[in-house]
Symmetry: C2
């Protein structure tokens, strides 16, 4: 995010609103990430239709972080297991 | 999320607002996830103080998803590399 020199600016639509994402990442990666968040927000809205936009976005961030931190823990455990084998 | 039978309900505070998280996960894991999102939102607000609460939460979800999808790709590549070695 931001407007630093050398960064590409890509516009994506998430939950019906446009966001400008600035960064050095591939445009295709940025669209993949935006679509991922948009899908996760749709799923969350389907389960909890009474949430306002902010709650929806925060709880989507919580669900994605849950998956992310579980994956990181799993990698940590596998790496420890490997170290034990060597 | 939700109020299904057999699920624990844990209240967490993210960006100054309380959220009730329902699920079978450990309470300590739920607090870890909530703190992670809260910290990421604080970082995002520091860099982009002009964002409203919804934009802040959506762009935080985008940043976390960026890290998550990069990690998943990296694991996929390492797994392919291993398959090639065997």
């Amino acid at each position: 995010m931001g407007e630093e020199v050398g960064k590409r600016r890509t516009t994506v639509k998430i939950n019906g609103q446009n966001y400008v994402i600035a960064g050095k990442a591939d445009v295709s990666h940025i669209h993949e990430v935006a679509n991922f968040v948009d899908q996760k927000m749709k799923e969350m809205r389907r389960i909890n239709p009474y949430l306002d936009k902010t709650q929806l976005a925060v709880l989507t961030a919580v669900n994605i972080s849950d998956e992310f931190l579980r994956l990181k823990k799993q990698i940590g455990q596998e790496s420890k297991k490997k170290d034990g084998e060597n």
